[in-house]
């Protein structure tokens, strides 16, 4: 939340003229009801559908979508790929905690293989989406992926997305200790943060590493500018 606000403030945008759309989930509570603009808190998975409608009616409106991975890429996956395909000028910020958190910790399309969730007690048998690659392939024209442990880069990316005309997607790796961490041996919030700090690296940092070291890393950065 703070990073989005800082980005808007640094760009000196008028928040009152912006529309923030969100779905259902903890991330969806970031803009609604707190932001000082128009807010639209919609049905689970349909944030992008509503956002497309609002943008269609008023193309001059700056429309930002803030929601989670369960909402945007699991139940709402279809809307995501088509909005990206059509390159609709939406700024989509996806808080990816790799689970359906608010509803109690069910496996989502982004849950890592082997992870324990309430709907995969023996470990998730399916491979997850690589959201950034998915959205890029679908047709998005600005794609970035950072962790919450990279705040400065995130503010920079959010500002780029706000200025970009076309479908922007920012994947923000966010920890959920309550539903994900607790079931997957990362009980304490600080453990999840430290794990993110350790695993998230930039493309340049990946160059010197061996395949074994790379296996557990998550490469972050601006993938499509």
């Amino acid at each position: 939340m703070g990073l989005i606000l800082r980005a808007i403030d640094e760009l000196k945008m008028d928040m009152k003229k912006m529309l923030f759309v969100s779905g259902i989930g903890c991330a969806a509570w970031i803009p609604s009801p707190h932001f000082d603009g128009d807010t639209l808190h919609t049905l689970h998975g349909r944030a992008i559908a509503f956002a497309t409608g609002a943008k269609l009616f008023n193309p001059d409106l700056c429309v930002m979508v803030v929601s989670g991975d369960g909402d945007l890429a699991s139940i709402g996956g279809n809307h995501l790929i088509h909005a990206a395909r059509r390159n609709i000028d939406l700024k989509v910020i996806c808080a990816n905690n790799m689970i359906y958190g608010m509803t109690g910790g069910q496996a989502a399309s982004t849950t890592p293989r082997g992870a324990k969730t309430t709907t995969s007690e023996e470990g998730n048998p399916y491979r997850p989406f690589d959201l950034s690659r998915l959205v890029m392939a679908a047709g998005a024209t600005y794609v970035a992926k950072y962790s919450v442990t990279q705040p400065i880069s995130l503010i920079h990316a959010i500002k780029k997305a706000l200025r970009h005309v076309g479908f922007s997607f920012i994947e923000v790796l966010s920890p959920c200790p309550t539903q994900f961490g607790r079931r997957n041996r990362l009980d304490r919030p600080e453990e999840m943060i430290q794990e993110l700090l350790r695993r998230c690296i930039l493309e340049e940092e990946a160059k010197g590493l061996t395949e074994e070291q790379l296996a557990e890393k998550m490469i972050t950065g601006e993938f499509l500018k």
Binding site: L19, S32, T39, H41, F57, D60
Partner: protein
């Protein structure tokens, strides 16, 4: 479909509810001449700077609502909310007021929303109550039998919800028998039975085909 679609949009904007145009497969496949209006009446909803978009003093009233981007900080949420749109799910008074308001805005305005058409009902002993594609077969039957001197008329339902209970009750009092042909197991016949003091005879047909006039005439010959 053209006229009703226009009306659906206007009703939707006027009452701030979803409006469903329910054509069936047969209507959807029709090819006919359509008379386009030179001037279309478009309903523009009222707006009020700083007004509460989800609350109104008048029972049956529809609150003014801004559009996004007008700087009104419009808060829309699917959860139970107060008059300003702020989510409030733990206050029974707020919840009750919300449910009451959104129901009243339709129930108090029934008469101007409900739409029906009447054919030859002034001096009829039998009435056909029909809607959708079946109303075409129904009207053909009524015209045919009128030529033979049968005192028959038709009430065509154009809105199915809110249900035109007033008109159906009125027709049910005037005639001796009501016949309801429909391509289902009697959904509207059941509704008509609630309001008609006379006999309601359903003609249900669920074989994937439209109801032909002959089918309706067969049933009518048996009961006349």
């Amino acid at each position: 479909m053209y006229d009703l679609t226009l009306r659906a949009f206007n009703l939707s904007e006027q009452y701030r509810v979803p409006s469903m145009v329910m054509a069936d497969e047969a209507v959807g496949h029709l090819r006919e001449a359509v008379r386009f209006l030179a001037k279309i009446e478009v309903w523009d909803r009222t707006k009020q700077k700083g007004g509460a978009p989800f609350g109104t003093e008048e029972g049956g009233g529809v609150p003014p609502m801004p559009a996004f981007g007008e700087g009104e900080r419009l808060a829309v949420t699917g959860s139970t909310h107060d008059a300003l749109g702020f989510r409030k799910t733990d206050d029974p008074k707020v919840h009750a007021a919300l449910v009451e308001r959104i129901n009243q805005k339709i129930s108090k305005n029934r008469e101007s929303i409900v739409e029906t058409e009447e054919y030859f009902l002034d001096d009829s002993d039998i009435a056909v109550i029909a809607y959708g594609f079946t109303a075409r077969s129904g009207l053909y039957v009524v015209r045919r039998l009128r030529e033979e001197g049968v005192k028959i008329g038709m009430l065509r339902l154009k809105t199915l919800w809110p249900f035109p209970d007033g008109k159906v009750r009125e027709v049910g009092r005037r005639v001796k028998k009501v016949v309801v042909p429909e391509m289902n197991r009697g959904q509207v016949a059941d509704e008509a039975r609630k309001y008609c003091p006379c006999d309601v005879i359903p003609i249900g047909q669920t074989n994937g085909e439209v109801i032909r006039p002959e089918t309706i005439i067969d049933t009518l010959r048996k009961i006349v």
